[in-house]
């Protein structure tokens, strides 16, 4: 999704590189490109216009900022505007004091309501709730049958009756009460907003069941019609949130921006596939980051949090700060990174990767990573600490041991030397500008070394030092501050943390 926007922003950034400040003409050109990208992404016209006006305002205000280049100013403005429009806050679900909590699903034909209903039921079930699915779509042939089968797959009871949608919904609610269910999800038939009878019908269903939450299910590939549809449903039902479906496609998903911008309701959930498990909370800030090619830092971090051995990584980080980065360290960290899944997938989450880098990353064969690992493993610990030890005969040995050639070993060593230099430079604050890589800036050298010394001694990072390092806003140097934490992370104050199994990014339960 939104590849074109990040590509264009890259082009804009490249064009503005080297310019001291951004002229009006430059800004107009940049905004024109952004507007085109948004329209091609199916963002509604007036939303796109307002978006560009917003950026113009932000850039002119920000013009006083000395530390950012014009390209960065534009990108920062776009990011902030995106987060603003997408909505910084996710929907918080609160449950009815007198169960069940009633959820009404509405939308156009084919938007994915039935599948979303079942997914929601499963999601709630996984949260420890006891949902009931009510099939009130009596119009589409075999719709109830479909819901029954999905309910079975999810392990959730399904109720329906062949009367009429309003009566079926009402009866479903009664059944939910009777069975002591605490959530009642009502699936309805798809309907066109200009069909007065059907809109009247769903108003009837709403009146009869008094839902606590009314969700509009919208297909991510919907075009300019998104706004008209959302408005009409909102006028009829007072929507609480939107569920965006079929996000696993390559549709740019501009509807996400449009609907939020015009109806003012958050996108609560993202449906990302045909299987019941392909469902998650929608994270606006992460979506904004992704749109801009800023990667999905939080998802990356969460994934890292779950899969890595914290002590290992903390130690590695400390050593890096102290300017030590040997093949041994590299191997250790590589193994941690491998646990997080395929490298290609990981690259997509990483901030600031250019299209070329992403494409290259996508083509990285995880088998090649294994090759690198094999080469390093074939070295003795002493060799890993000090690669100067590796003369011709040792290199042949390594090559034979890892099933590679001496040329491969040579190449690895040569590249690694370069990387070492880069790492050292980064820590001391002189990050060379590698095209396509994120500008990580310089981690303050002195603070870093002090930190490392402490870490080596105390066995755990010093928080004061770290917060000084990070700055009060908790901002990683060179990256914009993420929105207030959605994921709650338990404090890692030196207690040994168990490695968690990797998996999908889902909101952590009760931490």
């Amino acid at each position: 999704m939104f590849d074109a926007l990040s590509d264009r922003l890259e082009r804009i950034s490249t064009r503005l590189r080297g310019k001291g400040r951004i002229s009006d003409a430059d800004l107009d050109g940049a905004l024109g490109e952004i507007r085109t990208a948004l329209l091609e992404a199916d963002v509604e016209l007036s939303v796109a216009r307002r978006f560009c006006d917003g950026i113009r305002l932000r850039v002119s205000v920000e013009a006083l900022s000395r530390s950012l280049t014009p390209g960065q100013q534009v990108i920062r403005a776009v990011h902030e505007e995106l987060v603003g429009v997408l909505g910084g806050e996710s929907l918080k679900i609160s449950y009815a004091s007198r169960p069940p909590t009633v959820v009404l699903m509405a939308g156009l034909q084919g938007s994915g309501k039935t599948t979303a209903s079942a997914k929601l039921a499963l999601w709630w079930k996984q949260q420890g709730r006891n949902p009931l699915l009510v099939g009130a779509d009596l119009q589409r042939p075999a719709a109830v049958e479909q819901l029954r089968i999905l309910g079975q797959q999810a392990g959730v009871t399904v109720f329906s009756e062949p009367s009429d949608p309003v009566s079926a919904a009402r009866a479903g609610l009664e059944e939910a009460r009777r069975l002591g269910k605490d959530v009642c999800i009502i699936d309805t038939a798809g309907r066109l907003t200009i069909d007065a009878d059907l809109m009247e019908e769903i108003r009837g269903i709403s009146a009869a069941t008094e839902p606590h939450y009314t969700f509009l299910v919208i297909d991510a590939m919907i075009g300019q019609d998104a706004v008209a549809t959302a408005r009409a449903f909102h006028d009829a039902l007072a929507l609480d949130a939107v569920v965006l479906s079929k996000l696993d496609g390559d549709a740019r998903g501009g509807a996400a921006l449009s609907v939020k911008g015009v109806v003012g309701k958050p996108i609560a959930f993202a449906s990302t596939g045909e299987r019941l498990g392909d469902f998650d909370l929608f994270h606006p800030d992460r979506m904004a980051d992704r749109i801009l090619g800023m990667g999905d830092m939080l998802s990356l971090i969460e994934q890292a949090d779950r899969t890595m051995d914290h002590d290992e990584v903390a130690k590695g980080a400390a050593r890096l700060m102290a300017g030590h980065f040997t093949l041994a360290d590299f191997l250790g960290q590589l193994r941690q990174v491998k646990k997080m899944g395929s490298l290609g997938g990981l690259m997509n989450l990483m901030p600031g990767m250019s299209k070329e880098m992403r494409q290259a990353a996508g083509q990285i064969d995880d088998g090649e990573v294994a090759k690198v690992e094999a080469i390093v493993c074939s070295m003795t610990p002493a060799e890993r600490e000090d690669t100067a030890l590796l003369d011709g005969s040792r290199r042949s040995r390594v090559a034979r041991g890892s099933g590679t050639t001496v040329a491969d070993v040579n190449a690895l060593l040569k590249q690694f030397k370069e990387m070492q230099k880069m790492m050292k430079g980064m820590v001391s604050g002189n990050m060379p500008n590698i095209p396509g890589m994120p500008n990580l800036g310089g981690l303050p050298g002195r603070a870093g070394r002090k930190l490392a010394a402490q870490a080596a001694g105390a066995g755990g990072p010093d928080f004061d030092m770290l917060s000084q390092l990070m700055g009060d806003s908790g901002e990683l140097p060179g990256l914009p501050a993420p929105a207030p934490a959605r994921a709650v992370v338990s404090a890692n104050k030196g207690t040994k943390k168990k490695k968690k199994k990797g998996g999908r990014v889902t909101p952590p339960k009760g931490r």
Binding site: A142, T193, R252, A304, A317, L334, L343, S467, L469
Partner: protein
């Protein structure tokens, strides 16, 4: 190797940075974060009814003058109809030139010229009729394909009825073996159309079902097989491969694929072009069925589909009832698009 190394090192660095950040943030987690203010809902101006898209532009044009505002509102109207930026630019650039060359005079002329230009873009070299070869010893197969939720099964139901009425002996193949109760849904349509249906177990191989249907049609004397397929996103390589296989099997004697109909939802935006491109590349689409045109969406994307891929719209779906399928009429479409009716 270099790219790999760079990638690995970046990964390691970022992960380390992530770890540091985690630790720092866990400390801050003690302090409750400030909730950002929810953006104010923008005041909603009433959009008006379906015709509203062009009515402003049209009435402005009818006053005669052509100025900057005119072009802006025309552009706006075309974009809102999902015509797309590229096609809109092409259309308006050409019209601007003709206005500058004094080929077009006032507002009324401009409107007529626009309508004519769109009609030209929609012209197709092929035929809009549904192709039926009816060769002796062969059974015609029409494959219906598309992404999820566009209206494939409903379209087949309507087609079955129409073709039966036209004198064909229709057999339906429930080739959607993935979606829960998909075969049940098609079976109900078969009943409505008075046609037979071949179905298999859920989760089974769709190619096998199509094969069985073709065999049965040859044996029982059905001259037309309508094959339903599961909705699939064009980005899913394995599903596209599966579709290619279905077409190959359907085209094996005595089967003969004479139509591959891609169903496009009129509410879809620019992604429809990507869908058309990918599906055509995979299974050589012969025609488009544009569904849900009875709604507020204008389906303008089919102009780009015709222009860039040469794919004609053959049928239009106008509702969920069995008779709501009509032949595509470009003039009617353009009039509805521009609000000229």
């Amino acid at each position: 190797m270099t790219a790999l190394l760079i990638a690995l090192v970046v990964a390691v660095v970022v992960v380390l940075a992530a770890a540091l950040y985690l630790v720092a943030r866990s400390r801050r987690a003690a302090e409750p974060p400030e909730a950002p203010e929810a953006p104010e809902p923008i005041y909603r101006s009433r959009l008006g009814n379906v015709r509203g898209l062009f009515s402003d532009a049209v009435s402005a044009l009818r006053t005669g003058r052509i100025d900057a505002a005119t072009w802006e509102s025309l552009e706006e109207a075309l974009i809102r109809a999902d015509v797309g930026v590229a096609t809109t630019d092409a259309l308006l650039t050409d019209l601007r030139k003709r206005v500058a060359d004094k080929e077009i005079g006032g507002g009324d002329d401009l409107l007529a010229a626009l309508a004519s230009a769109v009609r030209t873009l929609l012209k197709t070299s092929g035929s809009r009729a549904l192709r039926f070869d009816g060769a002796p010893g062969a059974t015609d197969v029409w494959l219906v394909v598309g992404v999820n939720g566009v209206g494939k099964t409903t379209t087949i139901g309507k087609l079955a009825r129409q073709q039966s009425a036209a004198g064909h002996s229709v057999l339906l193949a429930a080739g959607d073996t993935f979606r829960a109760a998909a075969a049940d849904q098609l079976a109900l349509w078969a009943e409505r159309a008075g046609a037979e249906i071949v179905r298999g177990a859920e989760g089974g191989d769709p190619s096998a079902i199509v094969f069985d249907a073709v065999q049965r049609a040859a044996a029982r004397g059905n001259d037309l097989v309508l094959a339903d397929t599961a909705g699939r996103l064009h980005t899913k390589v394995n599903l596209v491969e599966e579709l290619k296989k279905i077409r190959r099997v359907a085209d094996r004697a005595p089967g003969h694929v004479s139509e591959v109909l891609l169903v496009l939802d009129a509410t879809t935006g620019q992604n429809a072009l990507a869908q058309a491109r990918q599906f055509t590349e995979a299974v050589a689409v012969t025609g488009i069925v544009l569904t849900k045109l009875d709604g507020t969406a204008k389906g303008g994307i089919v102009i780009a589909v015709q222009r860039e891929l040469g794919l004609p719209v053959k049928l239009v779906g106008l509702g969920e009832g069995p008779d709501d399928l009509v032949a595509f009429d470009p003039d009617e479409f353009v009039d509805a698009l521009l609000g000229l009716d």
